[in-house]
Amino acid sequence: MTMKQSIAIIGATSTVAISVARKLAAEDVDIYLVGRNEDKLATVAADLAARGSSTHTIVTDLANLDEHAKVLQQIESATHCFIFHSALTDQAAAESDWSMAEASLTINLLSPLSLLHGLANRLEQQKTGSLVVVSSVAGDRGRASNYWYGTAKGALSIHCQGLRNRLAKSGVPVLTVKPGFIDTAMTAHLEKKPAVLWASAEEVADLIVKGWKQQKNVIYTPGFWRFIMWIITRIPETIFKRLSL
């Protein structure tokens, strides 16, 4: 294929998104960058431009669903859409304060769903393109320590599953990415222990691009998380309740 590809990166200032965008930029593509912080977006766009791709930046607060129609219009020529935006939930705050729980659901679930709603309809008609959605291993099983975040990600994973099956008929692959711990700006405040469970954004980005090119359905990044989650989802609830996970 020699035609220039057009890609939208939503949540483009996330550390993993930047790494993914760089890997794609090297292949000479048109890139739409969607994010909240204008200066950061400009920094990312300049970097991608230096790598040879043309860029467009769209500044919006992705938690504001009312803006989504406009955003979808601005990225309507993008055939491949990568959804990265996410915010770690403060579990304790969400437990005590509904507005925190709601905010978490908005940014981690409703916002990607609202965008996917529009994107899916367009791509289904166009019968081309692809969707990549970054969910999380946290959505594979509800745990006492982060079930608010897990709720959003779990629902997002299920949604992508359904969407994948719907869009398969139109030849539009949907990739669900389930990262474990990634060393990023979002997790900068966390202690990186145990070190073997922490992956670099670079490493995760490599796996995402690879999975996307191979039109995978669901990837865990890195792959060993598939094994860890296989075990975790199989622990009987009676035992799971006694573990402090």
Binding site: T15, I18, D47, A188
Partner: protein, 448 residues
């Protein structure tokens, strides 16, 4: 916040607290809030110039974006944490190359500027500082200054080779050099001794952009033999990018008996014979193995075991070749000779860097396993010889340089001192700037 940051020499040091900002815009607050700190790159300095006990260092590796790249003029501006290998990935396909590169592509641009690194082309192109068009420097008072050879000149000169002490470099603008291919035409010539090296090196100087020699420092009787490797960018070949990912990795620290004087001698003999075979004709080599052979081996520093090693790099003036011979004998006789010693003739292109290491002369770099007092005594003896010869040792490699030695190697240090940011310091600096032990103390106390 993490504490995994290590100096490349792997000599055990207390955990180094590390802050890792993701955006340049975060730096001003982060920096201003520290009592003491130091910007560091990817931890490729060998000694303690990248360490700061009891205070966090600010690691710039996440500040790794390209700000601007002009494919027509070869001018590139980058954030400080861009690794050289990542920069090459972008510029090589466009027909550009680093004007000066050290022997690893895993160093950051900021670190390379702060150490004013040199390469195999010092005799033709000088050090990296000669190719820096501008630097953006953030100081702990939140001031951001764009420094060039003509604007904030003093700060520009102090920051090049300034060991990170003048503030945090937030952007570096470099003039790249044009290349037609990513390959080099390489010539190998063996030499039996230092005198012959000097002759061959002088001969190669005008015709080859890159020259460097490997020398045997371990085998009694054969010490001083080696191979002069001279190269130019080739007109033949493509513009492929090399991969800096290690082909294999040393999985853990090797046991201490891995490197002993017999294995090191055997290695040197084998290496010499292998290189000798390449002597016929010109060889065509890609830049990756040519410039960065050790990058192919992940964590090669682990071969020295958990005690780590010292690298000692020094130079003596061109007329001090007898001193070099003398030093070579001292090393060989000590039985501590290293398994790769690198010899290079520096040229007379001066760097703007106030505290730069390179100057005209012969420069030798070697590794010594850490053996406590014995190693310290050897390096101290070498320092004495280098001082006497009017030479200098390289701070980026060092953990043992005394304040006396430093202040003699770098008499400009008193002028440099005025440009140090009040928040910046390093273990290296605290050691070498200690005036109480100095015999070269200036008579101006900082405070009355």
């Amino acid at each position: 916040m993490s504490s995994n940051f290590r100096s490349w020499g792997t000599i055990p040091h207390p955990p180094q607290e590390t802050l890792r900002p993701f955006w340049v815009s975060e730096l001003a607050d982060l920096f201003a809030n520290q009592a003491q700190s130091l910007a560091v790159g990817n931890g490729r300095s060998y000694g303690d110039s990248c360490l700061l006990q009891d205070h966090p260092v600010i690691q710039t590796t996440q500040l790794n974006r390209i700000i601007r790249f002009d494919r027509q003029t070869g001018v590139i501006q980058v954030e400080p944490g861009v690794k050289l290998c990542d920069l090459l990935t972008v510029v090589v396909p466009a027909g550009w190359f680093l004007p000066v590169t050290p022997g690893t592509s895993l160093a950051t641009v900021g670190g390379a500027v702060a150490n004013d690194v040199h390469g195999k082309n010092h005799h033709t192109d000088g050090s990296l500082g000669c190719h820096v068009l501008s630097l953006d420097l953030l100081t702990s008072d939140r001031a951001l200054r764009t420094c060039t050879q003509t604007v904030h000149t003093d700060l520009f000169n102090a920051t090049i080779g300034g060991l990170g002490l003048t503030g945090i470099i937030t952007a570096v603008e470099l003039q790249l050099i044009p290349i037609n291919t990513s390959w080099l035409d390489v010539r190998y010539q063996t030499f039996p001794n230092l005198e012959e090296f000097a002759r061959l090196s002088t001969e190669a100087r005008d015709d080859y952009r890159y020259t460097v020699a490997w020398m045997d420092c371990a085998t009694p009787g054969s010490a001083g033999r080696g191979v002069l490797i001279s190269a130019n960018h080739s007109e033949q070949g493509d513009l492929t990018v090399g991969t800096a990912a290690a082909k294999f990795s040393v999985p853990m620290n090797c046991p201490k008996y891995t490197l002993n004087k017999y294995s090191i001698r055997a290695f040197n003999a084998l290496y010499y014979q292998l290189q000798k075979r390449k002597e016929d004709g010109v060889r065509h080599e890609h830049y990756q193995p040519y410039f960065y052979p050790l990058d192919a081996i992940g964590h090669w520093n682990r071969v020295y075991g958990k005690k780590g090693f010292h690298q000692y790099q020094f130079l003596v003036p061109l007329d001090a070749m007898p001193v070099m011979s003398d030093i070579l004998n001292t090393i060989t006789n000590s039985g501590m000779g290293s398994f790769l010693a690198v010899l290079k003739e520096f040229g007379d292109i001066a760097s703007p860097g106030l505290l730069s290491f390179p100057r005209p002369g012969y420069c030798l770099a070697l590794d010594f396993s850490e053996r406590g007092e014995k190693t310290a005594a050897l390096i101290s003896e070498l320092d004495a010889r280098v001082r006497e010869a009017g030479g200098a040792a390289y701070p980026a490699k060092d953990k043992l340089m005394s304040a006396d030695s430093f202040q003699q190697y770098y008499p400009q240090w008193t002028a440099f001192r005025q440009h140090i940011d009040p928040v910046c310091s390093s273990d290296f600096w605290q050691r070498v700037s200690n005036t109480s032990v100095s015999t070269h103390q200036t008579q101006q106390p900082d405070k009355l």
